[in-house]
């Protein structure tokens, strides 16, 4: 019998279907459930109303990240509502026997940073979290996607979720990346090509030689941003780079179990003739260091490019484009390079890993931050913070005029005090430039850590290759 060729996505999905509902969604078994303080309390409340406890607490991992302060974390949280949510998470975890990596814990950090760095995220798994950037974990060849709070409650109650199977998309990037072009630039480039809704209804597999050449951290950045083109998630087939990254981490399989798992993981790839519903192919050498000029992540251009004129747009497309530029205070057709920058944020689940800080440090070493720029350097986790200190990056930051903060989601969504003031321009390594995302009236330009470093030094949007 000849088996029908399958995609990587199909292989993992099919292995997790508990039951197919007639004319309905699949009942999908979830291997790991990450939770945080903002999207879990109502789900716990629902469970309590049913008189139930979490069904598989041992497969649930909790950490507070969205609204925690990034200075003085040893003190009680000043803002009452944030404190209540963080306290609620603590109580709910205690009641249900869930492991909590709280603020003082050595494993604390942004949920999508700590899962991979602790070796919890492993190839072939299904992973969910009440956060759209759960797609990050797809870098390991997992099916990982964000869910709503009702769905968090479903997973609490049954370790399963009802999901219609999405369509499959493959995005191949072939060739060699230019100097100073990073995974973030690939992500912004792809989204600028297919738009913020181009991936809707799909799960993406990223492939091609340029993707293979990325480190695990780069792959995480890319998969993290797959939600920004509307996709449920993104994934990359695991390879030697993946296995090397996982080996030896706290919760990675050890000894005999490692060998067994490795044998399974090595099988995880799309078959040669597997069929995708949608395919895109890009040439790596076409990608420039990218930056966004508008109010969604699809509005990105190369750093030396001009803001589009919008001439060819009509109707509501034109209204939306004009509204976006008005919010940003930019004019159609202008150059983006040289635009004033007031704030620089480096961090978030997109670019808050050690390699991002190394890249930033390497660039700012021996230079000085522009006086007009306020910079927030926020590690993605306690472990990343510790590495920054151990590697001597803090000294480089301080000599260049930057201060290191403590881990959390911070200015990515400005739920804590790290808000960009109204009307100010920020170059941010985070994932969303929506109106008000970094604070009411804040104007966000998304870019890589290297672009952020160049902006912090020059005080204006700059090409890092020209320093």
């Amino acid at each position: 019998m000849i088996l029908e060729p399958k995609t990587l996505f199909d292989k993992i999905w099919d292995a997790h279907v508990v039951k197919q509902v007639k004319d309905g969604p699949d009942v999908l078994y979830i291997d790991r459930h990450f939770i945080h303080e903002v999207t879990s309390p109502v789900a716990f409340l629902g469970l309590e109303k049913r008189g139930m406890k979490v069904f598989r607490p041992q497969n649930t991992i909790a950490t507070p990240d969205h609204n925690v302060p990034t200075i003085d974390q040893h003190l009680p949280i000043k803002e009452e509502l944030s404190r209540i949510q963080v306290e609620a998470l603590k109580e709910n975890c205690a009641k249900n026997g869930i492991e909590l990596y709280g603020l003082a814990h050595q494993y604390h950090g942004i949920v999508h940073i700590i899962g991979p760095e602790l070796g919890i995220t492993q190839p072939g798994m299904t992973i969910v979290c009440g956060d759209s950037h759960t797609s990050t974990h797809g870098a390991f060849g997992t099916i990982a996607f964000g869910i709503g709070t009702s769905e968090v409650e479903m997973v609490f109650a049954s370790q399963c979720i009802l999901q219609p199977k999405p369509k499959k998309m493959r995005i191949s990037v072939e060739g060699k990346l230019q100097k100073d072009v990073t995974a973030k630039d690939i992500a912004l480039y792809v989204i600028s090509k297919i738009s913020t809704s181009g991936g809707t209804g799909h799960f993406i597999e990223f492939a091609g030689s340029a993707i293979r050449s990325l480190t695990m951290e780069g792959r995480m950045t890319l998969c993290n941003m797959s939600i920004e083109c509307g996709a449920r998630g993104g994934m990359i087939a695991p390879d030697e780079v993946t296995f090397e990254y996982i080996k030896g981490r706290e919760f990675a399989p050890k000894g005999e179990e490692w060998n067994d798992k490795l044998a399974l993981w090595e099988q995880l790839k799309s078959d040669d003739n597997a069929v995708f519903d949608t395919e895109y192919q890009y040439d790596a050498s076409d990608i420039e260091p990218m930056i966004t000029y508008g109010t969604n992540p699809g509005m990105g251009i190369g750093v030396n490019g001009n803001i589009p004129t919008g001439e060819n747009l009509t109707g509501s497309d034109r209204i939306t484009f004009d509204k976006s530029l008005e919010y940003m205070g930019f004019k159609p057709g202008e150059k983006i390079k040289g635009k004033k920058v007031d704030y620089v944020f480096i961090g978030s689940c997109t670019n808050g890993r050690i390699e991002d800080f190394r890249l930033f440090a390497n660039f700012v070493k021996g230079k000085k931050k522009a006086n007009s720029v306020t910079a927030w350097i926020v590690p993605g986790s306690k472990k990343v913070e510790q590495q920054i200190r151990e590697e001597g990056l803090v000294e480089i930051f301080e000599a260049a005029g930057f201060a290191l903060r403590q881990p959390g989601c911070s200015a990515c969504l400005a739920m804590n005090d790290d808000k960009i003031p109204a009307g100010k321009y920020s170059v941010s390594t985070s994932n969303r430039n929506f109106e008000g995302r970094q604070g009411p009236g804040a104007r966000t330009m998304l870019a890589s850590p290297l672009m952020a470093a160049a902006a912090a030094i020059a005080g204006v949007v700059s090409d890092p290759r020209e320093f």
């Binding site: 039951k19 004319d23 949510q85 209204i319």
Partner: protein
């Protein structure tokens, strides 16, 4: 627990002809700090609805007394961005039972369905027609019929069909809850874990 049943609704609509309305516009992150499901409606479209000083922005459609109703009609790609179910709660809590657009973001769509709110995806030409009719007659009545999967502009007598997953349709028509269904599968789930 169950969701509110939805069968048929006749109502005027509130038009929001803006594309790519993301979840940060529907409900900004700083308003996600409750530990209960209630009270999010007041902050629906917060930064468009209120000026910086907290007074209502008269230009925004929700503050315009001309428009009212239980149907929100928005430009394409509504609900992109975050997975925050607070966005669905805010729309529901503000009194809407149906959201119409030519395109919905995936997570937002499943979130609204899990809260008894019906997402109605219509062709772009039909969406434009709704905006056109409401502009000339804000009191125009629309009918949304879930059983027959139709939305009708009553005065024009124009109707289109919309898609919905048959399972989700049953849930909404009857007020069924996904969790009750999943709990009924406990034995199969345990058997799956042991296999």
């Amino acid at each position: 627990m169950s969701i509110e049943k939805f069968q048929k609704l006749v109502s005027t609509v509130v038009p929001l002809p803006i594309e790519n309305v993301d979840t940060d516009q529907i409900i900004p992150a700083r308003f996600l700090k409750a530990v209960e499901r209630k009270g999010f409606g007041d902050n629906l479209f917060r930064d468009w609805r209120y000026k910086k000083d907290g007074t209502p922005n008269a230009d925004f459609v929700l503050n315009n007394p001309k428009y009212s109703g239980q149907i929100l009609v928005a430009g394409k790609n509504f609900g992109s961005g975050s997975s925050r179910e607070h966005a669905a709660w805010a729309v529901y809590d503000a009194g809407f039972r149906v959201v119409v657009s030519s395109f919905f973001a995936d997570i937002f769509k499943s979130n609204v369905l899990n809260n008894g709110l019906l997402p109605v995806q219509v062709p772009e030409a039909f969406l434009d027609e709704i905006f056109r009719i409401v502009e000339t007659d804000p009191k125009a009545q629309f009918e949304v019929d879930l059983e027959n999967q139709t939305i009708t502009i009553l005065k024009a007598g124009i109707s289109v069909n919309f898609d919905i997953n048959p399972y989700k349709k049953e849930c909404l028509l009857n007020g069924y809850d996904d969790i009750d269904f999943l709990l009924s599968l406990k034995e199969e789930i345990v058997a799956f874990e042991q296999a």
